[in-house]
Each structure stands twice: as structure tokens, then as C-alpha cells.
């Protein structure tokens, strides 16, 4: 049996399931102490703890720590060399620049100065800093400077992250910030895991603990200790994966709308997999290298405020408190549902009272106004959905083949989840002109998504046969490349490495591996081919655990 727990801002949901389906669900309010909230919701499930084979958590812990800057002071030592001035990207005065530079092929042209690195570390330690990130430009091509800095300083800092292990993708400013955030949330994650483990053990739960990541996959808590930054934005990931699990189709493209109080989060599923954000996700307005799902938020939810602007009805994008039917001061779409006689937890009389003046101003009946409000809300969502699809389809391509054979994403269905989903469905169907599905158990979609998400990992391999080097940053692996190395050889090396290092990446059970990107270039200097430059990205297939599909 798998236990999935989604700790959201207001509610903590839990779902317990096995190959036969959902066995129990529960809900609790999210309190100050997340561990208490977990214990409360687990208690409410009333299940046999010994039957659990795995526990998966989706938490806002690291997201909140980063957004609210609730973390211990963290230091960064950075080497960059020429290019864009790296100091423009420093987030605090605990980012220190040292000498050292690599080029795009990973050739060192300015060596590191160990004394300068030690002096920088001394400055940080004097500030009482215990967490350090080390980053160099092009470290994913040659991690030597990061590795050397880490070797020099590992005894001096309790928490240490190296930039190249965050992601194999190029992007030095994002690498700096990702490494910074990762180091910053390491103590937060460590404390959390410790107390969760203790609490679960006390209950008699000995199943391994997993965390949901931004990419809609999970990883073992041992890997989360090392890369806690991957757990940011797992909320939207949970809802997308939940929708994926609950949806009855696996072919074609579909929108997912998770309708909440303040916003509606949307994503797109294509052939049973969610679309990813190409460069990495943003957190608190800062761009990172964290692989995550492409989601867009629309300021349209059950609690969106409603007003008249130059005679036109506006819904959202802001929320100004709870709906009138729940004790708030101003009308919201939730009041419109309530006034229409839908079953909501609200007070219909209060909803009507709040809506009547607006109906008067418009000179229409209240129920007509209610339908208009919900139509406007659905229309707002539709417009953003169109822009979202356009954005997905305008992604640049770099080969003639892709230019001439574009893969156009064209959603044909929608899946609605979240509180007001069922009430909104007919309006969304009319607005979008497509079938909208509100799956059973949509209220616990997030916990279900967490429970059922497969473990995921991605690695990048770069081979330069002229320099005789193979680098796999995520696995902190370097190998000598034979001059005869082919792209097929490189793929085999990558696949084998992914299997061999599964424990480091925190992946387990039934992994399927696929190569998602491969490029091979002859390197020509003068008129001779002097080597091959090859790049491969390999991942474990994301998605929903097979046990669920086999039901």
C-alpha cells in the first residue's frame, strides 16, 4: 500500500491506495507544524500502517522557505572569468567571486587560486555561515574548479553543494541561484525529514519515505537531503500528476485546470505525460535550473473578487477575502454558485445579499448575473489557456526537420480538479468548446498524484573525443573517452550509469530509461575531422506507477 500526502497551504490531504484502488482518504487543516499536520491526517485515515510499502510527501516546505527567505545565511564561492559580469547575479553579499575560468569546452584558461578560495571561505565562516555553494562557469563541461573548491572546504562547512550536481544544463546565473537555494534549504529539509521519520517510526510506519519533485516525479528522501531544491513547486506537480492518474485517456493532449480559491493552475498533458518548463522553473521570481512542469496560474478562482468596471463585469485577478457566503464582504464566483442553488458549504442567503446590488446595477436578475459571473470566469481561463498553448507551440527549434515537421500541441479535452471543479464544468465546456472531465476523487487529486508518481531522474552526458573526455555532471562522473567513441556507445554508458547510480539519484522500482536528446557533431578543424562532440540526455520515464493503470 502506498500513502500519499499533499501538504498544501491550507489543507493537508492524504490518500492510501494499492493495486485495487483507493483504500482511504482524509483531510486535515495544515497547521504551523507540518509534522503535526502529517500525523493528524494519517491518524484520520485509520489504516493498517504495517501494510505500507512507501510514503510520498508533497510539501511546500522548501518553496515557503525560499519565497519567505526563511533559511540560515548561506555562502557562495563563485568563479566565472570573462563574460557577463557575474556580480550582477549575486543575491546577497555572501556571494564571493574568486579567480578561475573555463571555456565552453571545459578547457581551463585561468586556474583557481586555492589561497584565495580559502580566504573567501574564512570570510564566510566569520559571518557564522555553515552552508556553502561552489559554482563555476561551464562546470557542467568540466567540474574541476567546483570539485577542487569542495575538496578544499568540505571540512569547514556542514552543508555543501556543487553547481554541476544540480543539473547538467548550461546556464551559469541559474546554476548559481539553484545551488544557493539548494544549500539554503538543506538544513530545513534535514530537520523536517528527521522529525517526520521519527514520528512515522513512532506510529510503526517503516516504509521508505519519498518526496515529490517539481517535475512530477519522486525521489527517495536520501536524495532529497542532497538536492532539496528539487522539491520546490511540488504542489502544482501533485495536481498535474493527480489529474494524470485520474484521467481516463492516455492519448492526445488535454488541459488540466486545478481550480482553487485564488487561482486556477493550468498545465497540459500530452500522451499521458505533463509538459515540462524547458529551461527550469521560477521560484519567487528567480529563475532556476530545477526541472519542473510547465504550469501557468490564472487569477481566477472560487474566491476571486467581482467588480463592475465601466459597465463590464470583471472577475479576478485578485482575491479580497473569503466569499460572502462564507462570511466575507464581497461577492465571488463561489457566491454565484451558491446563489444558483448548487451545493456548496456557503450560506445562500448571504450570497444573494452580496450579489443583489450588483444585479440591480446591471438591471438583470440575480441568477442571470450568476451565470454571467461564472461565464466571465471561464472566459478568463480560456484566454489564458490559449496564450499558454501558443507559448508551448512557439518554442524555438534548431533543426530543419523540426522546423518542417512541427509537433503542434492542440489540447482536445480538459480535466478539471479542485474545489469548484464540478460547478464550473458546464461553463468551461461552453467556453472552451471541448469536453471537460471532472474525475472521481478529484478532491484528493494532489495526494493521489504524489502517491502514484514514479521516481524520476535525468542525467546529461557530454563527450568530447578530441579532449578524450566524458562528463556526466549530475552523477559527478568523469571518464576517459576513447577516440572511437560513438553516440551509441555514449548512450550505453549513460544508461548503465543511471542504473548503477540509482541510489544516488533516489530512484527505485520499475524504472524505464529513455534517451530524450541526442546530438553528435563532427569537430572539423582545418579540413580534418579531429573528433566528435556528443551530447545525450537520458531520463527515467516519468508518469504514473503501472500498478494503478493495471486496475
Amino acid at each position: 500500500m502506498i500513502l500519499g500526502i499533499d501538504i498544501g497551504g491550507t489543507h493537508t490531504d492524504a490518500v492510501c491506495l494499492d493495486g485495487r484502488g483507493i483504500q482511504a482518504t482524509a483531510k486535515a487543516a495544515t497547521g504551523e507544524d507540518l509534522v503535526d499536520s502529517i500525523l493528524e491526517v494519517v491518524h484520520r485515515l485509520g489504516i493498517d500502517y504495517t501494510a505500507l510499502s512507501r510514503v510520498v510527501l508533497s510539501t511546500t516546505l522548501s518553496t515557503n522557505a525560499i519565497v519567505e527567505k526563511k533559511y540560515a545565511p548561506t555562502g557562495m564561492i563563485v568563479s566565472a572569468g570573462p563574460g557577463i559580469d557575474p556580480r550582477g547575479y549575486f543575491l546577497t553579499d555572501a556571494f564571493l567571486l574568486v579567480k578561475g575560468a573555463m571555456d565552453h569546452r571545459g578547457r581551463e584558461y585561468v586556474p583557481l587560486d586555492p589561497e584565495q578560495v580559502k580566504a573567501a571561505a574564512g570570510t564566510l565562516k566569520a559571518k557564522g555561515i555553515h552552508g556553502l555553494g561552489v559554482v563555476s562557469k561551464f562546470s557542467v563541461r568540466n567540474p574541476a574548479h567546483e570539485t577542487a573548491m569542495a575538496a578544499l572546504l568540505e571540512k569547514d562547512f556542514r552543508y555543501l553543494s556543487m553547481g554541476h550536481t544540480m543539473s547538467g544544463s548550461l546556464n551559469f546565473p541559474r546554476r548559481m541561484r539553484t545551488t544557493y537555494f539548494n544549500t539554503a534549504v538543506m538544513p530545513v529539509q534535514e530537520r523536517f525529514v528527521e522529525s517526520v521519520q521519527k514520528a512515522l517510526t513512532k506510529l510503526g510506519i517503516h516504509a521508505p519515505l519519498f518526496f515529490l519533485k517539481a517535475d512530477g516525479g519522486t525521489f527517495a528522501s536520501s536524495a532529497a537531503d542532497r538536492l532539496p531544491v528539487e522539491t520546490i513547486l511540488s504542489g502544482p506537480a501533485a495536481s498535474m500528476m493527480g489529474a494524470l492518474a485520474l484521467n481516463s485517456h492516455t492519448k492526445g493532449a488535454a488541459f488540466v485546470f486545478d481550480v482553487g480559491g485564488t487561482t486556477t493552475d493550468m498545465g497540459i498533458l500530452v500522451n499521458g505525460l505533463p509538459i515540462l518548463e524547458p529551461g527550469g522553473v521560477d521560484i519567487g521570481g528567480v529563475k532556476t535550473l530545477v526541472r519542473g512542469l510547465k504550469v501557468m496560474s490564472v487569477g481566477a478562482g472560487g474566491d476571486s473578487c467581482i467588480c463592475l468596471e465601466e459597465g463590464a463585469l470583471r472577475v479576478g485577478p485578485h482575491r479580497s477575502g473569503p466569499p460572502a457566503c462564507m462570511g466575507g464582504n464581497s461577492p465571488t464566483p463561489m457566491d454565484a454558485f451558491t446563489a444558483l442553488g448548487e451545493s456548496t458549504p456557503g450560506d445562500a442567503r448571504k450570497a444573494l445579499e452580496a450579489l443583489a446590488p450588483l444585479a440591480g446595477q446591471r438591471g438583470i436578475a440575480v441568477d442571470e448575473l450568476c451565470r454571467e459571473i461564472i461565464s466571465v470566469m471561464a472566459e478568463n481561463i480560456r484566454q489564458k489557456a490559449i496564450a499558454f498553448v501558443d507559448e508551448v507551440n512557439s518554442h524555438p527549434v534548431y533543426t530543419i526537420f523540426e522546423m518542417l515537421h512541427p509537433e503542434i500541441v492542440k489540447p482536445e479535452r480538459a480535466i478539471l480538479i479542485g474545489g469548484p471543479a464540478r460547478l464550473l464544468k458546464p461553463f468551461m465546456e461552453e467556453s472552451l468548446g471541448m469536453e471537460c472531465e471532472v474525475p472521481e476523487h478529484f478532491m484528493v487529486a494532489n495526494a493521489l498524484g504524489a502517491a502514484l508518481a514514479r521516481t524520476t531522474a535525468q542525467i546529461t552526458l557530454m563527450a568530447d573525443t578530441q579532449m578524450r573526455r566524458i562528463v556526466c555532471p549530475e552523477l559527478h562522473m568523469e571518464k576517459e573517452a576513447p577516440s572511437t567513441l560513438s553516440i551509441e556507445d555514449l548512450k550505453s554508458i549513460g544508461i548503465r550509469a543511471l542504473h548503477d547510480h540509482a541510489h544516488i539519484l533516489g530512484i527505485s522500482d520499475e524504472i524505464e530509461i529513455n534517451v530524450i536528446e541526442e546530438q553528435s557533431f563532427n569537430m572539423v578543424r582545418g579540413f580534418n575531422t579531429v573528433g566528435r562532440n556528443m551530447r545525450v540526455k537520458i531520463q527515467t520515464t516519468p508518469g504514473i506507477l503501472p500498478l494503478w493503470r493495471e486496475q
Partner: protein, 435 residues
């Protein structure tokens, strides 16, 4: 925090699946390290800089600039559709106000492709700037005057040819002296046709000219001429083979110099042309150009192996460039006097060699020296491939007499041609008649 003062669009199309041949300089690998550098520097994350998808130029778009022999389809590959389409997309973004300026970082290049295309010259099949410029004139009629500043190390003989008779397109080429480099043309006395005298300016620089010489030419010639001409649109044909590390040229420019050049020129659109130092120059030059276009700080962009002493410009070169700059500026200012004595028809004959494809062409041009419009002309072109064609160009703003003359040339071409072509710019009509 890194920020852009201008909104800059980037069309990046490295055509990773296209090459002239596996060991040709114009190969799949060409923009790989540029992409690496641009991505690693986080350039695309800078607020204000945005990447857009390339488009596809149609046969009709190409027909505005070229007579392709025997036809468009056989003279180009899909990669040319995309590189020209990428330029068009860059222009569209600028003219529709989506961005302030744009850089079409595309390949293959185009500035050696002339109006008649029998094959590939200097790695170019179609002139991607000309296809773009003609698209602009067709779709944005408010754009009347256009300046193309070609900073590729090789003379842009193709662009010069396409706009030779065009009084509304100022073509300035700064390049390594043709006595020392392909294509061997581009001297100051090539200054445009009778009705466009002075609208072509060639500034041939001696080998080993450095940033100092290039920037002197920018300050003392290009900028004063541009200020005087007041173009509605400025284009930089941004070849990057003046770089000190380029394997097939002999100049000494740096990435910093290219960035300053673009900062000074402030073009609406940059188009990548040549540049084959794919590891040591392109990554840094392109990063510098993008930052300069965006109005962002490029002062730290520098090649890892840069040694300013090694590429310092010889004082004799400095003197030479100062003199040359004075002469070119004078030529521009006295261009009214360059118009030849008027005769109704003027003829010229040329031999053109297509080095990439090994084709020879003999061309005879008859130009109507009109005082009411830019003037109609026809090109009689016979190539070693056996094709012999006649191409007639009725220019933008053609007068009735020139239009009639062009029509009658098209209807009664005389001679034995494989096909007769007509470009009617005002009607946006491009016709081919097989004979």
C-alpha cells in the same frame, strides 16, 4: 541585476542538420559553441531579451529578390527557407513593435548571392538580407529608406548587386581589401548605378586592421553618412570573420569591438553572415552583439585568449584608414556629381563566378537611366550550366514609361532564352515564362 534597456528579439536557427559538406566551414557544428556560450551566460533570461522561433520564407518572398535559375526549388535547400524566413521574422518583430531590435542568428548566410542565382557563391545561395528587405518594403510601406551596413570581412558583392540601382537602399560594406581576399571586389569606385550613385559605399581595409581601425571608420564615415541619410531601417549584416582568430581571413577585430560597433550603429536588425572561427570568436562575438543590441553591459565579454598587444594595429594602417575614411566621406558628400551623363539606356557586361558550385556566368545588363523613377533594367544571363535567361526588374515606384518598357521586354524578349523572368515590385508580381 542584469537588465536590458531595449527589447531585443533573438531568432536562433543553427540548422544542426544542414551542411554544405562534412568538412566545409559552413557545417552543422558552426553555431554549436555560440549556443553553448549564450545559454551558459544566461543571456536568454535577461529581462527584455527574448528568443523567437524562425519562420519559413516562401518562393514568392525569394522571388522578390532573385531570378533563380532554373527555379527556386532547385537552387536552395530548406535551410535557406528557414534562414531567410528567420530574417523576415526578425523584421516582423521589429516592425510590429514586439521588440525594439532583433538579431537573426541564422545559417546559411546570404550576402554573396546576387540578383541572378545560378548556384551557390561564397557559401550563399539566396541573399537573406535582400529577401528580408523586400518583404519589409512589401508589408510595411512606411519604410522607405533602408541602410544596410555589412561588417562581414568579405565584400558583400551579392547585396551590392541586388541594390546597385536602388536609390532608397544605402549599402555600406566594410571589409578586408579585395586585393587580399575573396571575392576580390568592393573598391571605393564601386559606388552604385547611375540613378543610385553614392548609395553603395565600399570601405576596403588592409589586413590586420584591428578594432581601432574599424571603430574609426564607424565614427568617421558610417555614422556621419547614416545621420545624413536618415534611414527608416538600419540593418547590420553581421559577419564575424574580421575576428583575429578567423581561419580564412586576416583581420584583428575582437568581440568587444563588434559589441561597440553595434552599440554605435544601433541597428534595428542584425543578420549573421560569415564567421568561421566557431570556437574562439563566434561564442564571444555573438554574446557581445546580443548584449549591445539590448543595451546591456558587455564590457566583461572578452575572448579567453585575447592579447591586445598581439593584435595592436600598425600606425601605418591607422594612417591609411584615416586617409581612406576622409575620401569615402567626401565621396558621399559629393555624390550628386557622380551621376554619369544621361543616356536613355546604359549597358554593362560582367563575368560572375560561383566558387562554391564552380559555375561561370556571363551577364549583360541594360538599364534605362530614367529621371522619373529608379529605372527599369534587364539582365541577360548565360551560365556554364547551359541555362540562358533574361530577367527584367521593374523597380519600386517605376514610372509608366519604365513599366511599359519592362512589360514589352517581358513580352518580346528577342533571343533564345530558356526562360524570361519578371520582377514587378509595385505589383508584387514575380513571373517566369518558359520559352
Amino acid at each position: 541585476m542584469m537588465e536590458a534597456k531595449k527589447k531585443t528579439g533573438l531568432i536562433f536557427f543553427p540548422a544542426y542538420d544542414w551542411e554544405i559538406s562534412p568538412t566545409h566551414p559552413e557545417r552543422k557544428e558552426r553555431l554549436l559553441y555560440t549556443q553553448d556560450q549564450v545559454l551558459e551566460e544566461g543571456v536568454l533570461d535577461i529581462e527584455g531579451i527574448r528568443e523567437f522561433k524562425a519562420g519559413l520564407a516562401t518562393e514568392h518572398d525569394i522571388g522578390r529578390a532573385h531570378f533563380c535559375v532554373p527555379d527556386v526549388g532547385s537552387r536552395i535547400t530548406e535551410s535557406h527557407n528557414v534562414s531567410a524566413g528567420g530574417c523576415i521574422e526578425a523584421a516582423r518583430l521589429v516592425l510590429e513593435g514586439v521588440v525594439d531590435n532583433a538579431f537573426a542568428l541564422v545559417r546559411p548566410p546570404g550576402h554573396h548571392a546576387m540578383r541572378v542565382v545560378h548556384g551557390s557563391r561564397g557559401f550563399c545561395n539566396i541573399n537573406i538580407e535582400a529577401v528580408m528587405v523586400e518583404w519589409v518594403r512589401r508589408h510595411h510601406s512606411r519604410i522607405k529608406k533602408i541602410a544596410i551596413v555589412d561588417t562581414d570581412c568579405h565584400h558583400g558583392d551579392g547585396t551590392q548587386d541586388v541594390y546597385w540601382h536602388d536609390p532608397d537602399v544605402l549599402y555600406i560594406s566594410i571589409h578586408q581589401d579585395g586585393r587580399t581576399l575573396y571575392p576580390g571586389s568592393g573598391f571605393p569606385d564601386e559606388y552604385g548605378g547611375p540613378n543610385a550613385a553614392g548609395m553603395t559605399l565600399n570601405i576596403p581595409l588592409p589586413p590586420r586592421t584591428s578594432d581601432e581601425g574599424m571603430l574609426h571608420v564607424m565614427e568617421e564615415v558610417v555614422m556621419p553618412v547614416i545621420d545624413d541619410f536618415k534611414p527608416d531601417l538600419i540593418i547590420n549584416s553581421a559577419g564575424q570573420d574580421n575576428h583575429y582568430s578567423d581561419p580564412i581571413t586576416n583581420m584583428s577585430f575582437t568581440a568587444g569591438g563588434y559589441a561597440r560597433l553595434n552599440d554605435m550603429l544601433s541597428p534595428h536588425i542584425c543578420v549573421l553572415e560569415g564567421g568561421y572561427s566557431i570556437e574562439s570568436a563566434l561564442p564571444y562575438v555573438n554574446t557581445g552583439i546580443i548584449l549591445a543590441l539590448a543595451g546591456a553591459d558587455y564590457s566583461y565579454v572578452r575572448e579567453p585568449d585575447l592579447d591586445p598587444e598581439k593584435i595592436r594595429q600598425d600606425p601605418r594602417i591607422t594612417e591609411y584608414i584615416k586617409r581612406l575614411s576622409g575620401q569615402i566621406l567626401t565621396l558621399w558628400r559629393t555624390r550628386a556629381g557622380l551621376r554619369p551623363e544621361r543616356r536613355e539606356f546604359m549597358e554593362r557586361s560582367r563575368s560572375i563566378y560561383y566558387d562554391t558550385d564552380g559555375i561561370s556566368e556571363n551577364q549583360n545588363e541594360v538599364f534605362r537611366f530614367c529621371d522619373a523613377c529608379p529605372g527599369v533594367f534587364k539582365l541577360d544571363s548565360a551560365a556554364s550550366t547551359g541555362y540562358h535567361i533574361l530577367g527584367i526588374h521593374i523597380p519600386h515606384g517605376a514610372c509608366p514609361a519604365c513599366r511599359d518598357r519592362g512589360q514589352s521586354w517581358y513580352e518580346k524578349p528577342g533571343g533564345h532564352y530558356y526562360a524570361v523572368y519578371l520582377q514587378d515590385m509595385d505589383q508584387d508580381l514575380y513571373m517566369v515564362r518558359r520559352m
